[in-house]
Symmetry: C2
Subunit: 207 residues, 2 copies
Amino acid sequence: MTSRQNGKKQDLPPTAWAVLGLLSFPGQRTGYELKKWADSSLRFFYWAPAISQIYAELRRLEGLGHVVSSRSGPEEARAKRRYALTESGRAALAGWAADTSEAGPPVLKHGLLLRIWLGHLADPPRLRAMVADHQERTRGELAAVREAMAQAGDVDAWAFPLLALRWSERQHLAELDLADALLDDLAVLEASRTRPGQGAGDTPTGR
Amino acid sequence: MTSRQNGKKQDLPPTAWAVLGLLSFPGQRTGYELKKWADSSLRFFYWAPAISQIYAELRRLEGLGHVVSSRSGPEEARAKRRYALTESGRAALAGWAADTSEAGPPVLKHGLLLRIWLGHLADPPRLRAMVADHQERTRGELAAVREAMAQAGDVDAWAFPLLALRWSERQHLAELDLADALLDDLAVLEASRTRPGQGAGDTPTGR
DNA sequence: TTGCCCATGTAATTTGTTACATGATTTA
DNA sequence: TAAATCATGTAACAAATTACATGGGCAA
């Protein structure tokens, strides 16, 4: 058995686990295919690493014995290389996935909100336009999520990825609602500034 | 217009703009204070850089003339240093904030969802427990958001940060709803697997 | 007087991106 | 046959973290 006892953890960056995860589904695939899949699916709730990093992680994981690669054109460097998960890889991944202590709170990097936060540096119409743009883009993302869902179909093996995509679909819908509420808040704020009189904050926004 | 030969777009990492943003509010502050503020507020919709990186960004920004620092104990290395935004800094920041093209879609790194996506590697009770833990943690985060809102108060100067926090409050509420929906989906999936027959997948898992 | 919070910084390292180089295979 | 796409990789660099070093002020 491999050395994973006494509390010493397999310590890999999240990206490595994500790549390993991509390989935990039936079928072998190339680094290139992994990248495309990450772009069309994983990125909605996690993140899509650069292709060069995927290759780097694959090499590391192979060194650890978590994946194996098979060359089609034998011995040729730069030949097409398909990767598959090993038993050790599957075990390590399952161990990681079961360990919630590793998973901190979700990290959100929201460019729009950062700009709203800096609203005092812009004028109100600009802010509203930014929110509207965001909604437009979100609708596009939502369509992409649904496309990915269609790709997954109803096959049993893809049930969990489908669940994640369903979550993502709802998340995008929520994002649209949040943007609506934000527009309302902006309107209220602007109103209270163009006709001042009652103190800074008083009227409850409601929504 | 100003492309990149002499106009030369200010090309700084998002972190630099976030730090500059922290300094765009009234008052001077130390790197240490910036860090605490980022941890208690900015992190909810953007992200909190490590303290060492904040110092690094401050140095870079000072080199660019976007901020100035004042030492209290003069000439002493390692003395307390308060930073303030310069006019050039304010202008650069305003320019960046108005430029929506820079802002890609929000990036989400959701550890729980990654694990749900890998649900085929865990057992259903474990998955449910993970979602429940997540909800518990989210409630904690929500409380922290509200605390930050209380800190901001109703002062006019903090109106926009407050708006961002209000967004974040709603976002956390939505996150709780999403987790509820996910629990429902998990239950449905499990039911369809323990008593197979109709609908989605058909072949009993195997694995 | 011990320990904690304030406060600043360096060094080493990891993580991740962009740009580049190379060539095979498919499609118009 | 030209192009786009598939496919793999290296090199240079940028971004960011962790670990460490240093010291002042204050409260138990």
